[in-house]
Symmetry: C2
Subunit: 342 residues, 2 copies
Amino acid sequence: MTGATEKIKIKGTKSISIKEIAKICGVSTATVSRVLNDNGRFSDETKNKVLRTVEKLGYKTNNIAKSLRTKKTRSIGIIVPDITNEYFANIILAIQNFFFPQGYSVLVYNTNEDQGKEDLYLKDLEAKCVDGLIYFFCMEDRGQIDAIRKKIPVVFVDRNPNRKGAVVVESDNYTGGFLATEELIKSGCRNIVILRHILTNSTIVGRYKGYRDALNKYGIPFNPDLVLDMYVNANASKEAICRLIECGIAFDGIFACTDWLAVGALMALRKHNIKVPQQVKVVGFDNVSISEYSSPSITTINQDKTRLGEIAAQMLLDMIDGKSIDEKNIILPVELIKRETT
Amino acid sequence: MTGATEKIKIKGTKSISIKEIAKICGVSTATVSRVLNDNGRFSDETKNKVLRTVEKLGYKTNNIAKSLRTKKTRSIGIIVPDITNEYFANIILAIQNFFFPQGYSVLVYNTNEDQGKEDLYLKDLEAKCVDGLIYFFCMEDRGQIDAIRKKIPVVFVDRNPNRKGAVVVESDNYTGGFLATEELIKSGCRNIVILRHILTNSTIVGRYKGYRDALNKYGIPFNPDLVLDMYVNANASKEAICRLIECGIAFDGIFACTDWLAVGALMALRKHNIKVPQQVKVVGFDNVSISEYSSPSITTINQDKTRLGEIAAQMLLDMIDGKSIDEKNIILPVELIKRETT
């Protein structure tokens, strides 16, 4: 019989309580509540009567009042670096698809890797009283990351803050970096460039470690001149590879830490009439559409974006529901997708 | 002195009222309120004292209570077909960037062009009491579209429901379709395929009308065999163009109503060793990254995604603030971006 006393005026609607609806329909308030929440038994006749009355009179389950009573807003926040990047968008989509049938809506905050923005977003999420947060952080201040965890349930996705007790869902970036580099080595490459995101987070650290270990395993000396750091966009990697070519530094393979960096590398190679895969081989990371539809199509490391989102969402829901999380760090497997650039 | 009586327990924080903060700081509740809302005059000393106390004691402007008092949730909804499509993601990003500094957060709902989902989302947005809606509808039921407009402020973006009094921001799709087709004609094409979204909405209707009028202006007979309808994905357009080639239907130009459809067309042409732009020319629509970074890069019609989002957001904010909207249908200009496929 929750909601029986709710009576809130909402713009453009008449204000009416469950009690009044019950009276009009000649049923109990409990029955009205069951129909509105689609919870429990009632006849089709009762259902139709109640719903018609509700519609006619403009009653709404007023979530504001409900939130005040339950201390739940039935909303979760997502802080994400770039929703225009299909990799992140796919994860957000999986999270929204998971949470909506559970009655939760999703607030999206885009940082563009700006810590100042991220800081403001954390304050806003707190003020908006979201029930939980899915957090792709760029914040370097681990104190702030710990602070938000004390206030609301938080699941970290993609990037691991490496904090005690933090709940994290990530891809096996180390194995991804290893497989990408091994693919280049097995295709005959000996001078392998790595294109990295300039922001050092766990994804890049893992992929780089995989790259180093693969070189090591196959007895290929590491050359620091071949490690190129940049912001993730195709033009940046195009310029970096062009500079390398113009400086006369020899290379025969490129491991790009994202598919978009691989796209820029391909543009640079095309500009200098270097044939792919004959003269230089390329492997990307993420397996977003551009890797499949680029010409040549790009060999890449697949991340299971839908599973990353679904598992993060399930863990966050469990935390919101007060369930204990046994395994706090889920690492999803990656796989090599062989295409035309190797 | 709003907020002086707010006192809500939030998970993980101590519950404390403005009154108590005022007492501790030795200032009035009005002063505390002014500091918290950054509104009006107070000394730096007072500000620091209040903020330190607030931080120490974990007071928060509890937005739930505030919402109940103001009848505003300071949130807006966006219903969008596909956040993984960079075109929509760019508009969402502009909307979020506009609204956040105004104190609003953004709830994102992805329909995947599913009317059933859209229907549920509309109900949820109402129940969540959002202050307004930015609406890329797929709904064919104009009655439902009218119903939501009666309840909350709505701005339609991209797709025009053609309803009296509806506030709409859209690109000049007609001119876009005309310019794309004219570009193909001026490059020598006479048999021009059009690849359309199977869902007939105003964007497609406008582009198609532009295509027909351009053919007409240049005295090129219309051939219904060259009108191909499909869902927007690269594989669908690849298959459609392959079928056309295999059926022996002659064509020398393709106007793809989105860049992703153009990408699929290029794949089909490549598969059949048809040279672009020598044998067949292609123009896309949207100007998303794939058109710039594809090889060959794709001539396309630019839509100003950021402006679409910003103008829609400004209009929605004006409506929420009760301002009158003089111009209810904003049509943004488009432009031809010439690249390698023409």
